[in-house]
């Protein structure tokens, strides 16, 4: 394997941690698929298989106080922002122990304590709120950044454009992270985007933009760190486009009739971010097995935790509509 030039800042040790986190997300998502097929989880699940490097690369560059808004494909961001797999799995099982107390499920994950302002079932729904959070940080002179994740499809909806315009106008400390996987459900990029390079969206607002390979966690981490520094330093928001791949269906159970048959198999061979990282690390077989075992145990544990959880009581649904 050719030695790839490292971007100084990232130590081997840190890269190993990235590897572990990415693998945790992957195994978690595979477990979600499996439990769905077993009939234990209800549907409408979007997993982030293939996009782990974006979640980990960006979230690892954050400081604890920074906040994120996630998307409908939210498990990876949520884990990377620090929510325990137990709380996430319990949420998918609709249990009180879940991060949304069993009221939200896959597309409504919240973890206020850890600065996760929420997943969002409405595409583009999280972006304006991130501008507001960032504006609050600016008003209070706090060195914090608000980060919005969203897909390429989301760059077509009005809230995206309103949010970017406001963010730049008010020079708020926000970073907009586009997970550019080339699809919105069954709709391919060329049918929904009039431009090839999504970072150009920022030009209209005079916003700084970067486009990076989203399968390379080191590259994502470096670019995110830079973008966060720019925002935190008071120089305004950044649009960070990460080119990535959805190495799975749009939702769990998607027959993907719209996707060329061999495409997925080929991409799984060539574009797996975890494989890419492992090829760069000096991991021994024992290392790999050890990390794998550790991660699998956590994931298995999360399923046990979730199944042993408490069902919400219907009466409680009437609470918390108002203060």
């Amino acid at each position: 394997m050719a030695q790839v030039e490292r971007k100084g800042a990232v130590s081997e040790e840190l890269l190993r941690e990235f590897y572990r986190e990415m693998l945790l997300i992957r195994r978690f998502e595979e477990k979600v698929e499996e439990r769905f097929r077993a009939g234990e989880l209800p549907g409408f699940l979007h997993v982030a298989i293939g996009q782990e490097a974006v979640a980990v690369g960006v979230c690892r560059a954050l400081q604890d106080d920074d906040v994120i808004a996630s998307t409908h494909r939210a498990h990876g961001h949520t884990l990377a922002k620090g929510t325990h797999p137990n709380e996430l799995m319990a949420e998918l099982y609709g249990k009180v122990e879940g991060c949304s107390k069993g009221y939200g499920g896959s597309m409504h994950l919240y973890d206020v304590e850890r600065g996760n302002l929420g997943a969002n079932a409405v595409v583009g729904g999280g972006l304006p709120g991130i501008v507001g959070a960032a504006l609050a940080f600016k008003f209070r002179d706090e060195p914090r950044v608000a980060v919005a994740f969203f897909g390429d499809g989301a760059t077509n909806i009005g809230t995206f454009h309103e949010a970017l315009n406001l963010a730049q106008l008010w020079l708020v400390p926000a970073v907009f992270v586009c997970e550019n996987n080339g699809w919105a459900e069954s709709t391919p990029a060329h049918q929904q985007l009039p431009i090839d390079d999504l970072s150009k969206r920022a030009e209209a607002y005079g916003m700084k933009a970067r486009r990076v390979g989203g399968q390379d966690v080191e590259e994502v981490f470096a670019a995110a760190s830079e973008a966060l520094e720019h925002a935190r330093g008071g120089d305004g928001p950044v649009l960070l486009v990460c080119d990535t791949f959805r190495l799975t269906g749009h939702y769990v159970g998607d027959p993907q009739v719209y996707r060329p048959r061999d495409e997925l198999a080929r991409l799984r061979e060539t574009e797996d971010p975890i494989e890419k990282l492992s090829a760069r690390l000096d991991l021994t077989d024992e290392d790999v097995q050890e990390i794998e075992a550790e991660v699998v145990e956590i994931v298995e544990g999360s399923v046990e935790f979730a199944k042993a959880g408490t069902d919400p009581q219907p009466e409680d649904a009437l609470k918390n509509v108002y203060a």
């Binding site: 409408f44 597309m107 079932a121 919105a184 459900e185 919400p312």
Partner: protein
């Protein structure tokens, strides 16, 4: 007649209406290549071409806004919104433009837009994939609203909506897309807007419902079987309402229970109850009762059954009213 599921009936309507009138076109997210998330538009793009079945980017306000312009230029666009709650970004266009143009232009502009969306719960989906937002639409002047409860009506009401000169919003009960089968007339089949359907005749009590709640109240009527003769009125078109059918049934039975899946306050049931209070009070033997969802966001799957009106809740209300 063919035996079709509810969503197949919608699909057959499209094939017929696009064939019949070449100004009819379909647009929405994933409607073309994929045939729609529920496959309501399957086969249209192959048969009629990508200009008659248009895949749009993810932009609901843009979809409906574009349809406004298409209408002005003589097309009959049918917009698919993927789920009930994703119609909210388009509500702005609906309220500010769609419902007003004819009025503003003093009849100078035709507005034959159809907007359709799957609605309602019971499918174990998370929040924002189970809403019953019909009231927002009914409340908007200039907009008609239809909600079928059977495969045959799904085809017939959609055909009526497409041929209607005004904007019509059609809510389709996604719970029954594939679980309900029924006889559907082949070829031309139009169920006129503004005509309710007596799904079952009775003389002691009327259960009024629409869409996904119709099969439920029919089960409640079965459960009440021995005790009372129950009439089931399927509203079918919420606007314009078939007031005559409602008042006739109320006059006959003197007892009315209205069932809606949507949250309670200011729901469509409240409008029906108000009409009965205004125009049927002397025919009624007891209060008009409502069985509804609750004033909360639609809850997640573990407790959604408790949210949904159930046969038990409908039967309870009916028994209470039968004591009058």
């Amino acid at each position: 007649m063919a035996e079709l599921t509810l969503v197949e009936a919608i699909n057959s309507c499209f094939h017929h209406e696009l064939q019949r009138d070449d100004s009819v076109m379909v647009m929405g997210e994933d409607v073309g290549r994929a045939g729609g998330v529920f496959r309501a538009t399957a086969g249209l793009r192959d048969r009629f071409g990508p200009d008659r079945c248009v895949d749009t980017p993810l932009a609901e306000a843009g979809i409906l806004g574009t349809a406004v312009g298409l209408c002005m230029a003589g097309w009959r666009p049918v917009c698919e919104l993927q789920y009930d709650a994703f119609s909210y970004p388009a509500l702005d266009q609906l309220i500010t433009h769609v419902g007003r143009y004819r009025w503003r232009t003093r009849g100078g502009m035709e507005f034959p837009i159809t907007i359709r969306m799957p609605y309602g719960g019971g499918v174990r989906a998370p929040e924002l994939h189970d809403d019953s937002p019909e009231t927002y639409y009914v409340h908007t002047p200039g907009v008609k609203v239809a909600i079928p409860s059977t495969p045959s009506d799904a085809k017939g009401l959609l055909a009526a909506a497409i041929r209607d000169p005004d904007p019509v919003v059609v809510f389709e009960p996604k719970l029954h897309y594939r679980t309900m089968r029924g006889e559907v007339p082949e070829g031309d089949h139009v169920v006129p807007l503004g005509k309710a359907r007596v799904a079952r005749m009775g003389s002691d009590l009327t259960l009024v419902a629409y869409g996904s709640m119709v099969p439920l109240v029919e089960r409640a009527a079965d459960a009440l079987g021995g005790d009372a003769s129950v009439e089931v009125l399927d509203v079918r078109t919420l606007k314009p309402l078939d007031e005559q059918a409602l008042l006739a049934s109320a006059a006959k039975t003197g007892r009315v229970v209205i069932v809606q899946e949507a949250p309670r306050t200011c729901g469509y049931a409240a409008e029906l109850a108000a009409i009965l209070a205004e125009k049927a009070i002397l025919d009624l033997r007891g209060p008009v009762l409502r069985v509804t969802g609750y004033d909360v966001p639609y809850p997640y799957w573990q407790i959604e059954d408790a949210y949904m009106p159930s046969v038990e809740r409908v039967v309870d209300a009916a028994r209470k009213l039968l004591q009058y």
